[in-house]
Symmetry: C2
Subunit: 466 residues, 2 copies
């Protein structure tokens, strides 16, 4: 009879303490979007710093220098000075909880229902950061060492839910502290409970608003209708021109830099369980059909293909009833999801060019970019660190593991660009954890598997990266 | 040396009394859209009824039977029972006055500045109804008779600014009272002070809202963007498909019933003074270019061509900043200006057909019509009554008179359809009278010319219609 692997046993032994501790952290409403809760964001940072110190981390700091909300940094050097250094990235700020009445349990009570822990941040991202604290403890317990096999650093920011506006500056200001050989990014889910996956990428995003203005005021459509340009019609024609009949985005050069996923990844996506009706109901907000770029499956479309989506459109009279006017102006909010190696700045230029080409005579156009955008990121799946991570996840989950990606956006590319090292992804939550929504939950046994995977990874990495 | 024509002299003699009386009427804030002013609408009706009685009208009634706001009816039979009967249509309800702070004089004070009378309703439509009271007095004074040469009826409704929702019912309930050979419709302007015109038509209108719904909730565009239909994109594509590159509306059969203006009318439009820059600034709300259906001038476009205009469009997130969602739904408010012989019901069917053909898979469409619409109307310019009216206006204004039309909509077709008689237009206001806007005014000398034209018309009609 086989013994249980030491990492699994160590995790099991620490599981109860882990849950008590995570519930304590969830009780702190660290809502970054709400200035009234910025004190709680600081409390959350200090809670994490104290927890790290209690775990024996020799170097722990709360970075609260402004303008960024407090971030937590910790370092635990390996005994072997030649061992690689790994930086774990996560965040401790959480989303707002409205509508409060839709929660079945108070969002900061950390109620446990069966195998699930309910609460804001349980999945995104306190649960996964706590999973890493547990992973380090299990690694030490499993190896019997007093220091990890790799030099471990934690960097847990407080502004991810606000779009990480100061992250690049914060990283640039602490390059010596943060110097590492690898980033393990922990803010992405598994594909499904019965289909664990290793995430290999996130799409980027560029947001913009286009405003078309005609005259100086709304005008009565009886008096002038049919005789002047209608900015709302013009904005509709701009939007209609964004895609061709095959669903391909028509910005000039939009696909020039697109790198397609590898054959291994596409084969994995095709092998994942996918029920279209389930996906539409559970993931796609009750949408009634799939749609998108011709020639790609739904998972490929949402993980690996760039998009142009209308997030909002408005112009003219939008109240009850009718008001017969030709509107003065109209606008559309667009977001472009980007994939490697598209760059937000190049897409912004292409958008300006496209808008100029679709602005009719008598209409003036304004393109307002929403920041600089977030670049996309994809892992080199053949990188030894990714292979090691893949193996650790497969061992921890006792199941075949496939590759997946995430359609949303995160700061992986920023970490890669500023720190100059590869980023790999280790996450153990689920896409239906209701993050950003009422009744957020996390499935506790999955977090324990994730902690085991992390513990196995720390043990294996020195050899794999040598 | 010629004597002044007797109608002109009679109008001049009554001008001072006319102004006193009109200012009194304007002082009553008969704002039909505001229930708080419905008592004032009734007061306005009774003021008019009293004024008619004071002028000697033998039969005067306020129709206040609900649900319509009070209307005024009056009849003054001709001495000759074989004389034609003419019904004058106007309205005594007025538009709201917001924004009040934009008025240079109180809207109900009836301040006179030079040749202009300032006030809500001065032009639309109390001024023109009062002009007709003056016209009848002048007619009697000029002819020296104790009864008019034609049997005159007045019908002055109280709901025109609300879209005359009960007009057809009101007319149908009083067909014996309202029986006539001709309607003189008095709620349209001259083309310009130095270019008097006889109006020969109004466009109709059909309003509708189209709602496209995808799923049951907004969804995060990172998670599903590129994989499901976007209702806002779909509504934009619907709107973009409404017109072809030549600006022609693409509803099936949209132009099937369109009757083009006569050669005489088109020649008149071409001969009217038209400065594009002035029109854009003064009439078109500061629009920067003309635009519209290929092959037609601006005046033809706004007077004689049917349109499809977006009055409002909305969907998804329209607040400050960005929210990266695929919206659950999107909608567009459309109005179609119609020209003879387009019928609102047929256009409504064509719209439903068009929307069905442009609803993508996975999106459900709802078409909400805004009532039954208002049918268009055009005068047969060769009708003897119109020729008589044209001659009367030319004599009264001492200038060449041309034909014009009105791009907006009114109940002329309803009067025509229910009463079964021709409708002709007699108005003496101006397009830049700021009706429906702050600082509404009327140019008093033009109203006097209009009253003279009416007086001349009543004298000439028995012979012209015999």
């Amino acid at each position: 009879m086989n013994h249980e692997p030491p990492e699994r046993a160590a995790v099991a032994a620490l599981a109860e303490e882990f849950l008590v501790s995570l519930r304590e952290w969830i009780a702190i409403p660290s809502i970054g979007a709400d200035p009234a809760h910025h004190g709680d964001v600081a409390r959350s940072a200090h809670w994490l710093a104290d927890a790290l110190r209690a775990d024996g981390w020799p170097e722990v700091a709360v970075w609260d220098e402004g303008p960024a909300l407090p971030a937590v940094y910790a370092c635990w050097p390996a005994e072997d000075p030649a061992a690689p250094t790994v930086l774990v990235y996560g965040h401790h700020d959480v989303q707002p909880v409205d509508p409060l009445e839709a929660w079945e349990h108070p969002p900061f009570a950390g109620v446990v229902v069966g195998e699930e822990l309910i609460g804001r941040g349980a999945s995104d991202d306190k649960g996964q950061v706590a999973m890493h604290l547990l992973g380090v403890r299990a690694h030490l317990a499993a190896t019997g060492a007093t220091a990890p096999a790799v030099t471990l650093k934690f960097f847990v920011e407080g502004e991810e839910e606000s779009g990480s506006p100061h992250l690049a500056d914060l990283l640039a200001g602490h390059t010596a502290d943060l110097a590492c050989d690898l980033v393990v990014f922990t803010d992405t889910p598994l594909y499904a409970r019965d289909a664990p996956t290793v995430n290999t990428g996130q799409r980027g995003v560029l947001g913009a608003e286009v405003v078309f203005t005609g005259g100086t005021s709304d005008v009565h459509s009886g008096r002038v209708g049919g005789g002047i340009p209608n900015p709302a019609t013009a904005i509709a024609r701009l939007v209609a021109a964004l895609h061709d009949a095959d669903g391909r985005v028509q910005l000039p050069g939009f696909y020039a830099d697109v790198v397609e996923p590898t054959a291994v990844e596409r084969a994995d996506y095709a092998a994942l369980p996918f029920d279209e009706a389930d996906w539409l109901a559970a993931t796609a907000g009750g949408a009634r059909a799939v749609a998108g770029e011709k020639g790609w499956s739904t998972l490929e479309r949402v993980w690996t293909r760039p998009t142009a989506e209308v997030n909002g459109i408005s112009g003219g009279y939008t109240g009850p009833g009718l008001k017969t006017i030709v509107p003065r102006d109209a606008s559309v909010k667009l977001s472009f999801r980007l994939v490697p190696d598209q760059q937000p700045a190049r897409i912004a230029s292409a958008l300006r060019e496209f808008v100029a080409a679709h602005t009719p005579e008598g209409v003036t156009a304004e393109v307002r970019l929403r920041g600089d955008g977030v670049p996309p990121y994809a892992v080199d799946v053949t990188h030894p660190a990714n292979v090691a991570l893949y193996d650790a996840v497969q061992q921890a989950f006792d199941q075949p593991v496939r590759y997946s990606r995430t359609g949303g956006s995160g700061p992986a590319a920023v970490l890669h660009d500023v720190l100059g090292v590869p980023v790999v992804y280790l996450g153990a939550t689920l896409p239906d954890d209701r993050i950003h929504a009422p009744n957020e939950r996390v499935v506790l046994p999955l977090l324990l598997r994730g902690a085991e995977a992390a513990a196995r990874l720390w043990r294996s990495l020195p050899e794999r990266l040598s």
